[in-house]
């Protein structure tokens, strides 16, 4: 069942067009990551969805209810769309419990719902604390609880983990995914962090220059990017020239099977982990070696000057610049 429909959405700041025809579809209970570099318009998209900013044209509908079209603009407070802003933005003058209850009004099950939400995010013991007494991660948990408490139609998460340190970020995003799932919430996560999007989203929409370039599952987007630009944005890539005949790409790295046929493509995209050093492979000259502990990225050039990167395990012997090694490709190439 489709929960969110966005069609041909345009928005601008003054004369500068930021969203230039965005289309999105999202099924109920799913987590969609809108992924894009800074300045691509992802925060604007979120603000238009929440109703903080007006769209120039286009339509938004949630569960069959029109929020925005040519004649309608439902104000923020009647959209039932909650947000989790960057750094939480908890109300500093209210306790944790009152923050969580902010969207609940005076309904009868208020206290039960607050307690349930605090249990969900593991903050029961801090109900009477004030936000300034909490750590950054705790504040984000409370912000998530506050957003989920009124059972919104969907939740918007605006780079909610960006202010946290790397270890906590990884931990918390898995937790938050669990919280959203436990509540059956439909959510949109806006982020510039590819790892974050790939690891927790059910679907990823890549937003570049105000347009959704591709929407699909994380594997889809990573393995079959819609363009070279999307492919290079989503992860480390190796792009080599190719002539394509009969579902086979003829490249400097050898003849490679393809993910699909696209006869007009002149390049194919590979991921560094598809490349491996092998004695009988295509000879390359090592240029540079970046060691990361668990793995290493080795940059090398082919005899025709094409630059490639190879991801290897960090436990073997590391080549040094100038070494000549053989390279072999596993798996399929993707024409771009």
């Amino acid at each position: 069942m489709i929960a969110l429909h966005v069609r041909n959405l345009h928005a601008s700041y003054g004369t500068k067009a930021v969203l230039r025809g965005v289309d999105l579809d999202l099924s109920a209970g799913q987590l969609l990551a809108v992924l894009g570099p800074s300045g691509c318009g992802k925060t604007t998209l979120l603000r238009v969805l929440a109703g903080f900013m007006a769209a120039d044209s286009g339509s938004i509908a949630i569960n069959g209810r029109t929020l925005v079209d040519d004649r309608t603009k439902v104000p923020s407070e009647r959209r039932k769309v909650s947000i989790v802003p960057q750094e939480g933005a908890l109300f500093p003058h209210l306790t944790v419990a009152d923050n969580v209850g902010f969207g609940l009004g005076r309904r009868g099950d208020r206290q039960e719902r607050i307690a349930a939400m605090l249990d969900l995010v593991g903050m029961r013991g801090e109900a009477r604390s004030h936000p300034n007494e909490l750590s950054g991660g705790q504040q984000q948990r409370v912000a998530v609880a506050r957003a989920l408490a009124p059972r919104p139609e969907f939740v918007l998460l605006d780079e909610p983990f960006s202010s946290l340190d790397a270890h906590l970020r990884e931990h918390l995003r898995t937790e938050v995914k669990g919280m959203l799932r436990a509540e059956g919430a439909t959510a949109i996560l806006v982020t510039h962090d590819q790892q974050e999007a790939l690891s927790i989203a059910d679907e990823i929409a890549v937003l570049l220059d105000g347009v959704i370039c591709q929407q699909g599952t994380p594997r889809d987007v990573y393995e079959r990017p819609a363009s070279r630009r999307v492919g290079e944005f989503i992860g480390d890539s190796v792009v080599v020239g190719a002539t394509i005949t009969d579902k086979v790409a003829h490249t400097a790295l050898g003849d490679l099977p393809l993910t699909n046929t696209a006869d007009d493509s002149t390049e194919v995209l590979l991921r560094p982990e598809q490349l491996q050093f092998a004695a009988n492979g295509v000879p390359v000259t090592v240029v540079r070696c970046n060691y990361f502990g668990h793995d290493a990225i080795i940059t090398a050039v082919l005899s025709d000057g094409t630059s490639i990167t190879v991801r290897t395990h960090g436990d073997g012997t590391m080549p040094s610049a100038g070494d000549i090694l053989g390279v072999r490709v596993d798996g399929v190439a993707h024409p771009v």
Partner: protein
């Protein structure tokens, strides 16, 4: 030592009241007149504070959150009344309609000149306020008005409270306007008692009551503020709030914004120019004006220098060390803030007469009075300037072999010096406007701009006072302009 200097006048008043005999002082206190003064003072203070809040908060919102044309210009215009000393505004209005006196004009004129004390800090707080809080409130079902009340107001309430505190202290210690408008509050009554030689003991008792009132105001504000420490959670998102479109309300909003500057600046200035034009029949004595200007600058400059020197160690302590010493200082600063000019003047008159007669009516006593009165301001600017310098720079200097003293002298003080100098200039410009203490303590034969205005209006020579008033407003508009531009308008805490 600086703190001791600030506390000296107050201690001396208490000691003196004790010497005069507690029974006698007690009798002086329990008179019907004291009750009347109390009602008048509290009534005027409460009325002006309330009206300043009622006008200042919407003004701040208009100049920070709406699509008002030329918002920045309106911000400066809203700050302009700071350039007008209350007695100059009162003089301008009296020159326009000579019969003005009593509560109502005092209320309106003091409201007009002190509204910026609320507008500026509230506008700064609105700019700092995290827009995400209001947005979250909207997304959780609040109307724009409810979101403003529940999410924006708590963010700006501390600033509004601090502004209201400044207004209340300003009104309690105001001497010029209430005297010109003959509205009997403590400051006015104290100067009258002081003028009649028989009543000087009564003046001391009244001065003490006035100080207690001022301290009560400070205490109330601190209580209301309560847990202001809660007001820092994260940095918030660094995003400006979209401007609220005013549409058809633009014209009424502009008229609203004009009302206060008109009453505080435009009407008095026009009156001054009119009087000036009439007064040209008598030639303006430029040498007299020049002498007064030089005396004003010299005295105020020396006062600012002394205040800043005393403030250096105190500001340093307050900026770099938290803890008991710092909070004692903070309280001392507040006490200094709560001391009306007339009380400082009065106490220093008695102090010099009885303890150091040689200094009575010497320039030093007046300079010292300025230092005591403006110490809190000076501490505020020193502290803010030093706090801007990252302490790690000092640590680096220490690690490179500088002694602590040398490190702070060559690094921290060096980097903070432009800010400290600007603060000293502000103090000097403020001291130029000071009236009651200057009247009491000025050396014989020396006239400043403020005392010239005072003595000329007292003898109804309105035309003769006009050039002095204009010169003073010109001088005072400099800090008003600077303050309106400063984005971190910090109320000295």
């Amino acid at each position: 030592m600086g703190a001791a200097a600030a506390a000296l006048p107050l201690l001396y008043l208490v000691v003196h009241a004790g010497e005069a005999g507690w029974t006698q002082s007690w009798e002086a206190l329990w008179r019907e007149r004291t009750l009347r003064l109390l009602i008048n003072s509290i009534g005027l203070t409460a009325a002006v504070t309330a009206s300043c809040l009622a006008i200042g908060v919407p003004t701040a919102w208009l100049v920070t959150r709406t699509d008002l044309p030329a918002r920045r210009v309106w911000m400066v215009i809203a700050a302009l009344p700071l350039a007008v000393p209350s007695y100059v505004a009162a003089y301008g209005w009296i020159a326009t309609s000579p019969g003005l006196h009593g509560f109502l004009p005092a209320w309106l004129i003091l409201t007009a000149v002190s509204t910026p004390y609320v507008t500026l800090p509230v506008a700064a707080a609105m700019r700092r306020a995290d827009p995400a809080l209001e947005e979250v409130a909207r997304s959780l079902g609040r109307s724009p008005a409810a979101a403003m009340r529940e999410a924006l107001w708590p963010q700006i309430a501390p600033a509004a409270g601090a502004g209201a505190l400044l207004v209340a202290l300003y009104v309690l210690s105001d001497f010029g306007a209430v005297s010109m408008l003959r509205f009997e509050v403590f400051t006015f009554a104290i100067s009258r008692q002081y003028g009649s030689y028989l009543g000087r003991e009564d003046a001391i008792v009244m001065a003490l009551v006035l100080v207690v009132l001022a301290l009560a105001v400070v205490w109330t504000e601190r209580r209301l503020r309560g847990h202001s420490q809660r007001w820092r959670v994260g940095q918030g998102s660094a995003r400006s709030t979209p401007a609220v479109p005013l549409g058809r309300s633009t014209m009424p909003a502009l008229l609203f914004l004009l009302a206060i500057p008109c009453a505080a600046v435009l009407v008095p200035t026009l009156a001054l120019f009119q009087r000036l034009a009439e007064g040209t029949r008598r030639t303006l004595d430029f040498s007299e004006l020049g002498t007064a200007l030089i005396a004003t600058c010299a005295l105020a400059g020396a006062g600012a220098l002394l205040a800043t020197t005393l403030a250096l160690p105190l500001g340093m302590l307050a900026a770099r060390f938290r803890g008991r010493a710092a909070s004692v200082l903070e309280i001392a600063g507040f006490t200094g803030h709560a001391l009306p000019g007339i009380v400082v003047g009065l106490s220093l008159v008695f102090f010099s007469l009885q303890v150091v007669p040689g200094l009575y009516q010497s320039a030093f006593m007046l300079i010292f009075a300025y230092a005591v009165l403006f110490l809190p301001k000076a501490i505020g600017s020193v502290r803010a300037s030093i706090a801007q310098v990252p302490p790690v720079l000092d640590d680096v200097a220490r690690s490179l072999g500088h002694s602590p003293v040398r490190a702070s002298a060559t690094i921290t003080m060096r980097l903070a010096s432009p800010g400290i100098a600007a603060g000293a200039l502000l103090v000097a410009l403020t001291a130029m406007k000071e009236l009651p203490a200057t009247l009491m303590l000025r050396p014989t034969g020396v006239d400043t701009l403020s005392t010239e205005i005072w003595s000329r209006t007292a003898s109804a020579a309105y035309g003769a006072a006009a050039p002095y008033a204009l010169a003073l407003m010109l001088v005072a508009s400099i800090p008003a302009f600077l303050l309106s531009r400063s984005t971190s308008w910090e109320v000295d805490k």
